[in-house]
Amino acid sequence: MILQITNLYKSYRSKEALQDINLILTAGTYGLLGENGAGKSTLMRILTTIDFPTKGTITFDGEDIIKLDENYREMIGYMPQDYTVYPSFTAQNFLEYMGVLKGIPKEELDKKIPEVLAFVNLSEVANKKVKSFSGGMKRRLGIAQAIINDPKILILDEPTSGLDAKERIRFSNIISAMSKDKIVILSTHIMSDIEAISNHLIIINKGQLIEATEIENLVEKVKGKVWEVVIDQEQFNLLSKERNVIRRKQEGENIRVRYVGEPYEGLENQSLEPTLEDYYVSVCL
């Protein structure tokens, strides 16, 4: 199972949304990271055939996904950043509608709907109108529709936005449980989610591919370069000009600072275990 993106370009009038993207994706979970407007959603829309590339190709097991058409879309599950549910639809109605459009036979759909509703913990509200759902419930329903056809490729755009801490943990567990033998691509701004769920990271900035590798490798790149110091305001002003500050926390008159780079001379630098956030902030921003 190989999803290959080759020399992909997408432009909207004069704006280049994606430029020369090349990626090979196999089974695993891929976090897609980038600032707002970096091109993440555009890439996802092209991967789901909602939109079409200006140039370049995407193949699945060697065949162009546009030519595969329905045969490709049959294998994908997609949850967009936001989606519209017809006002009078209940969760059950909505999943029936999605199931029909996914080509799932009625008998199978009758079995699948209670399963996926239970999976995302929405069984009790199956007959409630979706318009009365909270943001988190709607996200979970979005996941339910995405997985109802047991897709080989699961594409989730900002799946954790709007979820509270408990729901994010639940979501992480759901994705982890599903990621075996699937290509899962998820975009998020929340670094800890990517670290918790993904084993690969794809970074896009201004439409260009910055990085695509295993998360462990990225973290390794900043190993021995992450430090913590407690300093006063004057020292902080100097340090922040010369090092990449990841976080700062005010502690009375002093400031606890986490930074990346060579240890700042003259301070009591304490070495820390690096995280993905350390890499992303120091290298990509």
């Binding site: 789901t48 909602i50 939109d51 329905e70 989606y83 017809y86 509608y97 999605m98 056809n149």
Partner: protein, 388 residues
């Protein structure tokens, strides 16, 4: 596909705007039908409207003509009395028919009505003259051979014709012609957002990413749109028929077509003629429906698509007021209303060589052509439909 059509059907009818538009159509039709009823049928006080249904039906043969002559003393009628008789329900069919023959004849009424055979001979000559005269205003001019062919058809009109009370059918046809355009506006309003990307019943990212979300979903919506349009049209016809049946009765379906359209050359009943009209109306409804859905796919923004659809339908209706007969006959709205707004009567004819082709056949051919073009453009649009 069937399941998608059912869901899309439910979605469209769950929309309050759809229900509101159809209810408004029904209320408007009922109100205007009643208003017309009172305008045409009220007595001098304006308070009471009654219909006299004691029409003498049957074949307009010598016996019927003699009955008219004896009972009404028609030879002594002056213009005002003749007009009164035309307004009289019982005899208007027969008198309208006799009046048409009289208008084209140099003979006195006594001579026209003296003999059934000569009466119908004069009638057929009058039809021929009327068709030839009407052709002066058409873009396609008949040659002598064409007229000979038409005359041959006129000769085959079965006589005597059957007349009888048909006020209800007549008023139904009249009101159908007046109110028909409302159906087109309702359809434009109801279906213009079916493919837009900013409406709850339209297309969104989620549906486009699904296996059947593109080709089958789009085709299912097109089928649903046509079924919904068909339903709205059926509701319109149903309301009109029921109301006219209650107000006037719908007697006269079995009368000869010529009892209403005197120049018609088809040997069919008035009821069959009404069905042909309704079929033409249906064709226009379906053409407008598919045009509106094409606008919806191209524009993708609900409000703009609705506004544009209504404007296009309004423009098509407005274009039926043209004096250019070719432009008029190509207009799909004219397919439905041709029989009321033209000087050509029930039908007019074209020729390829010596083969006579009625406008009804031209309408079918044009309809197929329009459908084909709309379909081509629609498929082209939905294959590359994006939400941008």
């Amino acid at each position: 596909m069937k399941e998608i059509v059912i869901i899309e059907w439910k979605k469209l009818w769950h929309s309050k705007l759809t229900v509101l538009a159809v209810v408004l159509l029904i209320i408007t039709c009922i109100f205007l039908n009643f208003a017309t009823f009172f305008v045409f049928e009220a007595d001098s006080s304006g308070r009471n409207a009654t219909i006299r249904k004691e029409a003498k039906g049957g074949m307009l043969n010598q016996e019927y003509i003699d009955y008219l002559i004896e009972s009404l003393d028609v030879y002594e009628l002056d213009a005002a009395a003749w007009y009164d008789l035309l307004q009289h329900e019982s005899y208007s069919n027969a008198f309208q028919f006799i009046g048409f023959v009289k208008d084209y004849s140099d003979n006195q009424l006594q001579d026209i009505l003296s003999n059934e055979e000569s009466f119908y001979q004069q009638y057929k000559m009058a039809v021929s003259k009327e068709i030839e005269h009407a052709n002066l205003f058409n873009w396609f001019s008949y040659t002598a051979e064409h007229m000979a062919r038409i005359d041959n058809k006129i000769e085959q009109i079965q006589t005597p014709i059957e007349v009888g009370y048909n006020r209800g059918i007549g008023m139904f046809i009249y009101q159908y012609n007046t109110l028909y355009v409302l159906v087109l506006f309702v359809i434009s309003f109801v279906l213009s957002s079916i493919f837009t990307c900013d409406s709850p019943q339209g297309i969104d990212e989620l549906t486009l990413a699904l296996k059947k979300g593109r080709k089958q979903n789009f085709n299912a919506r097109i089928i649903t749109g046509n079924i919904v349009a068909l339903t709205i049209y059926a509701i319109f016809i149903g309301v009109m028929l029921i109301q006219h049946a209650l107000m006037y009765s719908l007697q006269g379906w079995g009368n000869s077509l010529q009892s209403y359209w005197v120049t018609a050359i088809y040997n069919i009943s008035l009821g069959s003629g009404v069905l042909i009209i309704l079929a033409h109306g249906l064709l226009t409804v379906l053409l407008v429906t598919n045009l509106v859905m094409l606008i919806s796919i191209v524009i993708k923004r609900a409000k703009i698509a609705t506004l544009l659809s209504i404007t296009v339908v309004g423009a098509l209706i407005q274009l039926t007021n043209t004096s250019n007969p070719l432009l008029l006959q190509l207009n799909p709205v004219y397919f439905a209303t041709q029989r009321f707004n033209s000087r050509w009567g029930f039908e007019f004819y074209y020729f390829i060589g010596n083969i006579m082709i009625p406008y009804t056949v031209i309408v079918l051919m044009l309809g197929c052509l329009y459908f084909f073009v709309i379909r081509l453009l629609t498929v082209k649009q939905y294959k590359r439909y994006t939400l941008q």
